[in-house]
């Protein structure tokens, strides 16, 4: 980690003093190879990728023309923005008034947005939600492992591994095709029914098995597409260094794939977070179940709003994070980087 701290091309304060209309460029000396400090053409070339020389903004004084132009621009922007804002507000108001003035609104308000019901239900829903979170936290790493292993099996190209690959393909196809809730049913009531020694019978465990197998199939596909999106030249470069297939995967392909699949993976995790609610069919009292118990008791839907809220509180930040990472990845790929 020596040197390289001052990123070439970025202007530094000390440059300002030296800057002139025609700033100084280190002129090409001997070859870059000979010079141990990597100055000379190589360094200047690197710098010129940013811009020939860091030019400071200091010397630029806005012309009158530009000042007038910007004032003009601001005026125009202000005008159209206010038109847009006004129209949006009008539309929103019409919508809200339309809904609240409807004959059924008081009933709806009472049935869906009753503060007292909300307060009543919240503690139970919250307690249930902690179970959702627990299921999620246990299932997530298992899903990652299953997904990665299956994806790696599917990358094996040699005919020797055909049977293994066939199993992996079969698994991903079938388990992606069946509604998750059905899988949870099947495992939740099927495994205990086998009455096997040592087989789990706890519904939460069984539900997690169902979720892991269902989402594992999805995540395997995500990983696989990530692995395949790594440019083949990277694999060739690794193999040409005499790394084995396993080493190439481990050190070169998977680390790069992992970064690329983070956004779709997080997407799947947002869904998983919501699908933890499906474990309810096996009996556990998670958030949605708690909400439905309250709703059935009082014939009021507010507890569902309560559940929606706790879910949103977790999934929205996660979705935003996903978007952010996806945008960053996209920007990176645009920048290209690779020679």
């Amino acid at each position: 980690m020596t040197g390289g701290e001052a990123s070439p091309g970025a202007p530094t304060p000390s440059d300002d003093s030296a800057a002139s209309v025609a700033p100084e460029v280190p002129t090409g000396s001997d070859g870059p190879v000979a010079s141990a400090t990597s100055e000379g053409p190589a360094a200047s070339a690197a710098a010129s990728e940013g811009s020939a020389v860091p030019p400071a903004l200091a010397e630029w004084t806005k012309s009158d023309r530009q000042i007038r132009r910007e004032a003009d621009l601001r005026r125009r922007a202000r005008r159209s923005t206010s038109v847009a804002t006004a129209s949006t507000i009008v539309v929103a108001t019409v919508l809200i008034v339309g809904v609240t003035a409807s004959p059924g609104w008081p009933r709806v308000q009472e049935t869906f947005f009753s503060p007292s019901q909300f307060v009543d239900a919240f503690p139970d829903v919250w307690r249930g939600f902690l179970l959702n979170v627990k299921i999620f936290l246990i299932a997530e790493p298992l899903i990652l492992i299953v997904g990665l292993v299956v994806a790696l099996v599917r990358t094996l190209r040699s005919p020797v591994f055909f049977p293994l690959r066939a199993v992996a393909v079969f698994y991903t196809d079938i388990f992606r095709g069946i509604p998750t809730i059905l899988l949870i049913y099947l495992f939740g009531f099927g495994i205990p029914a086998l009455a096997l020694q040592g087989a789990p019978s706890d519904p939460v465990t069984l539900g997690i098995i169902g979720l892991v197998l269902s989402y594992g199939a999805y995540v395997a596909e995500v990983f696989r597409s990530g692995i395949e999106s790594v440019h083949p030249s990277q694999r060739a470069a690794a193999r040409s260094l005499a790394l084995s297939h396993g080493q190439t995967m481990r050190y070169v392909v998977v680390p790069q794939a992992a970064r690329r699949v983070i956004p779709p993976l997080l997407n799947d995790f947002v869904s998983l977070q919501k699908d933890t609610a499906l474990v309810a069919v096996l009996g556990p009292l998670e958030a949605l179940r708690q909400a439905s118990i309250h709703a059935a008791e009082t014939f009021n839907y507010t507890p569902y709003m309560c559940a929606a809220l706790v879910f949103i509180a977790l999934t929205v930040p996660m979705a935003r994070l996903t978007d952010h990472l996806a945008a960053r990845t996209a920007r990176r790929q645009m920048a290209g980087g690779h020679l």
């Binding site: 040197g3 390289g4 141990a36 990597s38 070339a45 040409s240 260094l241 050190y251 690779h338 020679l339």
Partner: protein
């Protein structure tokens, strides 16, 4: 004895042959340049030598033993051959140092400290001492290619294959990479270089091979090939390159 012998090598893709019975000998310390139009098979030949492609006929010998034998572990062969590609060379998720030390550590089982010390020495020798901690995307194209060369040197290969290492570079960055290769030649490295830089080939090669349609049409000293090509196709190719202002 020659270091590398390519004997009647054929390579087919689907319905056409990309290499059509290539014969080539490379002596130790010799620098061979492959020239020819796009698609003539230069890259494919290099990839076959490095066993990144299986061949469909013929044989390749390194240090006298056949490396295309089915019983040979390709990784053992690749340990002795370095290769640098036109693009997507470096591992973008690793620092320059990690790029360079990966193979020594994981393949050649060199101790990490030793691998690092050797890598730093090599990097310094090629003017990259202060880039060890950088990630590849912070480097210029020329620097990236220099790192790629250093990386392939770190395992002390017997033979270095260079595949158009400058053609993805901005023209003003080409010089720095070419001078690295010149230095390697002076240090006695055996190299096979696929290139579009005719003036460079003329300057550095001990022998130049002209490929067309997967056939090695002409093989000779640079003077002979560039000034008095025997084959009319070679003349045609050189003429076209000249027209493009690249000779």
């Amino acid at each position: 004895m020659s270091l590398l012998t390519v004997e009647g090598v054929w390579k087919n893709y689907h319905h056409h042959s990309v290499l059509r019975g290539i014969d080539l000998e490379v002596a130790p310390h010799e620098v061979v340049c492959l020239i020819g139009a796009s698609g003539s098979g230069k890259s494919t030949l290099l990839r076959c030598v490095n066993l990144l492609e299986s061949i469909d006929d013929g044989a390749i010998y390194l240090d006298g033993s056949e490396i295309t034998d089915v019983r040979i572990d390709p990784d053992d062969v690749r340990k002795r051959i370095g290769m640098v590609f036109q693009s997507y060379n470096l591992f973008p998720h690793m620092t320059v140092l990690d790029n360079v030390t990966l193979a020594p550590r994981k393949v050649h089982k060199v101790r990490p400290e030793q691998a690092e010390a050797e890598a730093r020495e090599l990097l310094a020798r090629f003017g990259l001492a202060d880039k060890a901690g950088e990630y590849p995307d912070r480097l210029s194209g020329g620097q990236q290619q220099r790192v790629a060369i250093v990386r392939s040197l770190a395992t002390q290969p017997r033979l270095l294959l260079l595949d158009e290492v400058t053609s993805a570079l901005d023209p003003t960055l080409v010089t720095e990479v070419l001078s690295v290769i010149r230095e390697l030649k002076d240090a006695g490295m055996t190299m096979i270089i696929a290139t579009h830089e005719m003036s460079f080939a003329r300057d550095i090669a001990d022998a130049v091979c002209f490929l067309e349609g997967g056939v090695l049409l002409e093989h000779g000293s640079p003077e002979q090939i560039f000034t008095a090509p025997e084959h009319p196709r070679t003349r045609g190719f050189l003429q076209r390159v000249l027209d493009a202002g690249r000779l």
